[in-house]
Every structure is written in structure tokens, then in C-alpha cells.
């Protein structure tokens, strides 16, 4: 483990790993807030678990779990306003779900169906998660610039991992946030690993938050396993951003408790002992303990939540598995607003091919 998961001076934290409050909670945080956040975290953990299980049984393609980092996604989601825009990366399932992306849509994306990106409502202008590391940060800066230029007093939240901080485009985007004073909050999920590469091999700086110094914006390090800390940092950064005071880089220190994705085997490159130790900092458990100690979370409530969450996730899985197939030519129909003549011709070709293959095989579209 390279970056300390303990709370420490200079790292914002409210509820520590043992579930003890080390600092007075922000005013706007009440029991209902804590319970809601807890529910979101438990829900997304259950979704992750199911998604991995689906992958193991051949019903899902590569899936990136956010196990252990639920507090980051949840804290962000709780802090954002509806009119803010989210530019997520692939471990922001929790934030997406809070913004109303349906759980089955998350499964659809990783199940290989573009329609999972058809977000509605609050999330209608959010970006789908970005696969090419770092590239989303300049989209976010562009969105922030659009807000600023239109005089909309909202902000953008854009996320990436610790590995992403090595990418030049992330620096370029943050530098623009600084020089144009853009309403953008960048959250780095420092889960300490970029696949097999530890944080210490990405950069020589002590923290990732201090990279803010190179671009003239605020930099904050928070305990990424403390949902209150994440929330508080994002909320106040968003408030500053919305009223024209510029952007913030938030480093949320956490740990990737899962493999990188279902295609990865983390035992190849890190010790079980490290992972076990990181479990002591579990964001979900600590919040449960804290609420329990407050007398605000009973075993019965826990039981009821688990049942409810299981039902919700199971329903999402069912919906996911029942998704009717796309039209065969969907992958051509949205390349441009209107299909170009070459694409129309290629669609003819596709449909003829499918007909041929159907005729030959009675249904199965075609092998290779």
C-alpha cells in the first residue's frame, strides 16, 4: 500500500476507519443523509457483485468493479445538483445511479449494448463513462466553458483515476480550468493502482492533490473512504465553481479492493495482505458502524435494506437480461444524424448478408 489510507493532517476526513467521528459533521448532514448515502453505497456494491457474477457465468463482458470506492461515487452524487453535469469514468457507477442512470443501463453498457448510454432525466446531458484514460477531462472543461459562456451558474464534475494523472491531456484540461476559471471540479479516485502499476510509479509527488499547484486551482486531499469527506469537499468545490471562483482538484484516497476488471487477476502483482489491510478501511462498514453507534441503524434496518437492494438489483439484472436485441443496423444509424449515401449502401449490404446467413443457418446471424 503506497498512499496511507489513514486520516492524517491535510487530508479531509470526518468518519474514520473505525467508524468514529473525528471532526464535527457539516451542518447539512443529518441522519437521513447518512442513511441515504449508506443505501446508495450498499446498492452499488450489490450491483458490482452481481455484475461480476454475471461475467463469471458468461452473461456479461469485462466489468470494472468499484468495490471499496463506493464512498467516492456516492459522495459526488450526493453533492451534485441536478443541473450540474457529470463526466464520469468507468468507476463512477454510484454517481451515475444517484443521477438516475438505471442500474440495468450500467449493466447494458458493460454487457456490450450502446443503449445503456441512453441516460434520461437529470443525467440526460451527462457523458457516458470514458474508456480512453484521461480524455474525458477536456470534455468536461469544454462543458464548463460552455456553461460559463452561456452564463449558466452550474458546474461540471469530472472524474478519473490515479493513473490518469500521468496523462498530458488531464494536465491540459486542468490548466485550462485554472486560466479560464472554469466551473469544474475534478475528482481523482486514487485507488492506488492503475491495473498493475502502483501509484508510486506514476509520479514522484507526495499527493495527487498538489498537482493543482501547477495549474493554479485549489487542490484538496480527502479520505476517499469517508463519504462525508468526499461529499463535503465536492459540495464546497461546486459552490465555489458555481459562483465563478474557479475549479478544484480533489484527490480522494481510497483503494481498489477488486481486480482492475473481471479480465484482471490482481494476485499477480499485489499481496493479499495489502488487500486485507485495505479492507479495514472499508467505506461501507465504517458508515454502518457510525450510524449504528449513533443509534440510527439497527440490524433490522440493515436487513430490510439488504432485501430491498437485492430486489432492486435483481430486477435490474432481469431487465438487463431481457433487453430485446438492437436492430441489426443500429450501429450504422447513429454514426451521423442522417445516414450518408455510403452508409445507406453499406446497410443494404449488411441486411443482405444477414438474410443470406439466416437463410443458410435458420436464425443465427453469421459466424466468422
Amino acid at each position: 500500500m503506497f498512499d496511507d489510507l489513514d486520516q492524517a493532517p491535510g487530508k479531509l476526513g470526518f468518519i474514520d476507519a473505525r467508524g468514529k467521528s473525528v471532526r464535527t459533521l457539516p451542518d447539512d448532514i443529518d441522519v437521513a443523509w447518512l442513511q441515504k448515502s449508506y443505501q446508495h453505497m450498499v446498492r452499488i456494491r450489490q450491483l458490482d457483485k452481481k455484475a461480476v457474477a454475471l461475467q463469471r457465468t458468461g452473461q456479461m463482458h469485462t466489468y470494472p468493479s468499484c468495490l471499496g470506492q463506493e464512498a467516492i461515487g456516492t459522495g459526488i452524487g450526493m453533492a451534485m445538483q441536478n443541473e450540474d453535469v457529470l463526466v464520469p469514468y468507468y468507476r463512477d457507477q454510484a454517481t451515475q445511479a444517484i443521477r438516475g442512470v438505471r442500474l440495468e443501463q450500467i449493466l447494458q453498457v458493460w454487457g456490450g449494448d450502446e443503449r445503456g448510454n441512453l441516460f434520461e432525466g437529470v443525467a440526460a446531458r451527462d457523458f457516458p463513462n470514458s474508456v480512453p484514460i484521461g480524455t474525458q477531462m477536456s470534455h468536461a472543461a469544454g462543458i464548463a466553458a460552455a456553461m460559463k459562456s452561456r452564463g449558466i451558474r452550474q458546474a461540471v464534475v469530472a472524474n478519473c483515476g490515479d493513473g490518469a494523472t500521468s496523462r498530458g491531456d488531464v494536465y491540459e484540461a486542468l490548466n485550462l480550468v485554472g486560466v479560464w476559471q472554469l466551473p469544474m471540479v475534478a475528482v481523482v479516485n486514487n485507488n492506488q493502482w492503475a491495473i498493475s502499476v502502483p501509484r508510486s510509479l506514476q509520479t514522484a509527488t507526495r499527493t495527487l492533490a498538489e498537482k493543482a499547484l501547477a495549474v493554479g486551482i485549489e487542490g484538496v486531499q480527502v479520505d476517499g473512504n469517508d463519504v462525508v469527506a468526499v461529499y463535503q469537499a465536492v459540495r464546497s468545490a461546486l459552490a465555489r465553481a458555481r459562483c465563478g471562483k474557479g475549479g478544484t482538484l480533489i484527490e480522494a484516497v481510497s483503494y481498489r479492493l477488486s481486480d482492475h476488471t473481471t479480465a484482471d487477476d490482481a494476485t499477480r502483482y499485489r499481496e493479499a495482505s495489502e488487500v486485507n489491510k485495505a479492507w479495514d478501511f472499508d467505506p461501507v462498514k465504517r458508515l454502518q458502524t457510525y450510524m449504528h453507534d449513533l443509534g440510527q441503524w439497527t440490524p433490522a434496518q440493515e436487513q430490510a435494506l439488504l432485501v430491498a437492494v437485492k430486489q432492486e438489483v435483481d430486477a435490474a439484472v432481469t431487465a438487463y437480461l431481457k433487453t430485446p436485441p438492437q436492430a441489426a443496423d443500429d450501429f450504422m444509424a447513429y454514426v451521423f444524424a442522417n445516414m450518408t449515401p455510403p452508409l445507406l449502401a453499406q446497410r443494404e449490404h449488411l441486411l443482405a448478408r444477414l438474410e443470406r446467413d439466416n437463410a443458410a443457418q435458420g436464425g443465427k446471424h453469421h459466424d466468422s
Binding site: 446531458r125 480512453p132 477536456s138 470534455h139 484540461a173 443500429d330
Partner: protein
């Protein structure tokens, strides 16, 4: 489009009207929104028109503000529309493309300038991985109506990296349009259409001919159609296909051939991708002979696609193999030997003769 819409053209390539006449023309007609302009001025006019007509349009890039762009394509726009809509960016091309994607996703219409095409390479990731895919990835929920402008091509004796023609790279990227004007009229009309288009357009401006001719343009906000070739000259003996600055040599070659009694049809591809093969194929079906002219390195260029498609789709009409007149598979030489690289009018005429001599 089978005949150039620009019947309003007042000057022919190679013949530059005297400046004083041009100035007089320009002044006389300003009231009617009629301008006699070079290509780079036509670009400016289109940008001005778009900024004026659509509040969502912003222009951004390096040195495009007070400096008006190193080629002056954005001259005076900052003064008229202010620094919030005519935006000098930091020196970072990947960023310029990336924020354009972000802006466009929210319904703005960013028109970004890359100072020279030689510096467009760091935009490839954004253009290929995002600009061309945002609509498809979100099944139409988000889109990317951005334009990425860049002056391109050689022949102006510029330093290394200032003379590249890498249009083929973008033409191969799904979801992008690649549009190249070759006259003031088409620069004006195609750029307006590119800006109005709901999808991303890479708009490449042949800087060698930025100031070569003037044409009279009515600044009426009328775009010219994308996705279509322009037939600049009708002919029956032979089809010459080109785009960008080489249209100049191509038209000269057509004239020279005319003197030799050969009647060449000249097609300006204009929208490189998606390619309007119908116009090209119909022409070759008529003439049976074709020369494709490109400035870019020879192999794996846009001309290869065109040549392949002709042979695949009109083989029975071909009376001689398609000839390609191209640059070489080398970097553009430093200025002293640049002309050795560049295809010439004579090369085109010679290639035409080869197709003609082929019984």
C-alpha cells in the same frame, strides 16, 4: 452536384484581378452584401456570418484573437464578437479538440482552428475516439457539431511540419466529415454548411491558394452542399479528379490538354469523406479515362480509395488504367527541395497522355 454553383465567380484561377479593381468591386457591392474575396477572406466571411447568425457558434484556437490567426482567417472577429466568442486558447491542440467535443455536446457550435495541419496530430485521439463517436456511442443522445479547421498542404516554403497533407488519416475515421474547399466560393459555402452540420467536420483549407484568386461572393448565409463533388469543367475525353490546392494545377492541365485537343472533365471532390462516388463514377463511365491528383504522399492516400472504387465499380468502362499523380512517400522536404516533391501541371498532363495513349 454536377456543376459548380459558383456561376457568380468573377475570376478564373491563375488570373488575379488587379487589386484596385478588386477594392472598387468590393466597395461598390458592400451594400448588397456582395464581396470580392480571396479564399482566406471567404473563410473569414463565413465565420463572421456564422458568429452573427448563431449565438451558439464560438471560434477558438491559437492566435486567432487579436492576431486574427497567422493567416488572418479570423481577422477582425475578436473586435466584432468579443473575446468570449473568439477565444485564444492555451497552446495545446489535444485540448482544443477535446473542449470542442465538450462544448458541442451541450449544443454549442465550436469552430476550432489548428494553426497548421502539421500540428493536428495530437487531436487524433479526440477526433477518432470521441468526436466521431459521441452520437453513435450515446445512440443519438449527445452529438458533436464541431468544426476543426486547419490550413494544409505545401508549396509556401514554410518550415518543417507546416506543409502536411494528412487528410487520408481523418477520412478513414468513422463519424467524421472531411471537407476541403478549393475556391473562395466553395470555402464560404462549405464552411457555413460545415458549421451548420449536426456532426463533426474536419475542414481543411489549402493555404497555398488562400490568396490565389478572388471571387465575388454574396454573403447570404447560404451553404453549399456537403457530401458532393463539384464538377468544375465538363469534358468527354478524360476525367481529372482532385481536391484542395491541386485543383489549381488540375485546371491548368485541363487547359493545356484543351490546346492539345483533349476535352477533360474536372471534378473537385470537396467532401473527401463521405465520398460522393456517384459523380466520379458517372464521369468515368462517360470518359473511360481518369487521373486522380493528390498532393499527399502516394501510398494509402485518398487517391487510392478513389482509384480503387473506380476500378471496382466502373471496370468495364475503363479504357486505360487510372493514373494517380501524387506526392512521394517521403516527408515534405524542407523548402529548398519542396518543389521536387510537389506534383506539377506537367505531371498531370503527362499522366493524362498516358491514359489517352492507352488504346
Amino acid at each position: 452536384m454536377t456543376v459548380e454553383s459558383a456561376t457568380r465567380s468573377v475570376s478564373r484561377p491563375g488570373k488575379k484581378p488587379s487589386d484596385s479593381k478588386a477594392t472598387k468591386d468590393a466597395e461598390a457591392t458592400k451594400r448588397d452584401n456582395v464581396h470580392v474575396v480571396t479564399m482566406v477572406e471567404a473563410v473569414n466571411l463565413a465565420l463572421r456570418r456564422a458568429l452573427n447568425d448563431d449565438p451558439d457558434v464560438v471560434v477558438l484556437g491559437e492566435d486567432i484573437g487579436i492576431n486574427g490567426g497567422v493567416f488572418r482567417a479570423t481577422l477582425g472577429l475578436r473586435e466584432t464578437f468579443g473575446y468570449k466568442r473568439v477565444i485564444d486558447t492555451p497552446l495545446a491542440e489535444a485540448l482544443i479538440a477535446g473542449i470542442s467535443v465538450g462544448m458541442a455536446s451541450q449544443g454549442m457550435r465550436p469552430v476550432a482552428e489548428i494553426q497548421f495541419m502539421g500540428f493536428i496530430n495530437s487531436t487524433v485521439e479526440q477526433m477518432l475516439s470521441h468526436a466521431g463517436r459521441l452520437r453513435n456511442r450515446t445512440r443519438g443522445r449527445l452529438s458533436c457539431p464541431m468544426v476543426l479547421r486547419a490550413p494544409f498542404g505545401g508549396g509556401i516554403h514554410a518550415p518543417e511540419h507546416h506543409s502536411e497533407s494528412t487528410e487520408a488519416m481523418f477520412a478513414h475515421m468513422p463519424g467524421l466529415r472531411v471537407v476541403i474547399p478549393s475556391s473562395p466560393t466553395r470555402a464560404y459555402g462549405l464552411l457555413l454548411s460545415a458549421i451548420q452540420d449536426p456532426d463533426p467536420v474536419v475542414f481543411l483549407e489549402p493555404k497555398r491558394i488562400y490568396r490565389m484568386v478572388r471571387q465575388q461572393i454574396t454573403d447570404d448565409g447560404q451553404g453549399l452542399p456537403l457530401d458532393t463533388c463539384f464538377t468544375l469543367r465538363q469534358g468527354k475525353d478524360l476525367t481529372l479528379v482532385s481536391w484542395g490546392a491541386m485543383i489549381h494545377e488540375t485546371l491548368l492541365a485541363a487547359k493545356e490538354l484543351e490546346q492539345q485537343g483533349v476535352d477533360a472533365e474536372v471534378i473537385d471532390v470537396a467532401t473527401i469523406s463521405p465520398l460522393d462516388m456517384d459523380t466520379i463514377r458517372r464521369s468515368v463511365e462517360k470518359t473511360g479515362r481518369c487521373v486522380v491528383i493528390q498532393e499527399a504522399p502516394r501510398s494509402f492516400g485518398v487517391g487510392s480509395e478513389i482509384s480503387a472504387r473506380i476500378a471496382e465499380e466502373a471496370l468495364l468502362y475503363l479504357r486505360a488504367p487510372v493514373q494517380r499523380v501524387t506526392g512521394y512517400d517521403t516527408p515534405m522536404p524542407y523548402p529548398q527541395n519542396e518543389s521536387l516533391y510537389m506534383p506539377s501541371t506537367r505531371d498531370i498532363v503527362e499522366a493524362a497522355r498516358v491514359t489517352l495513349d492507352n488504346a
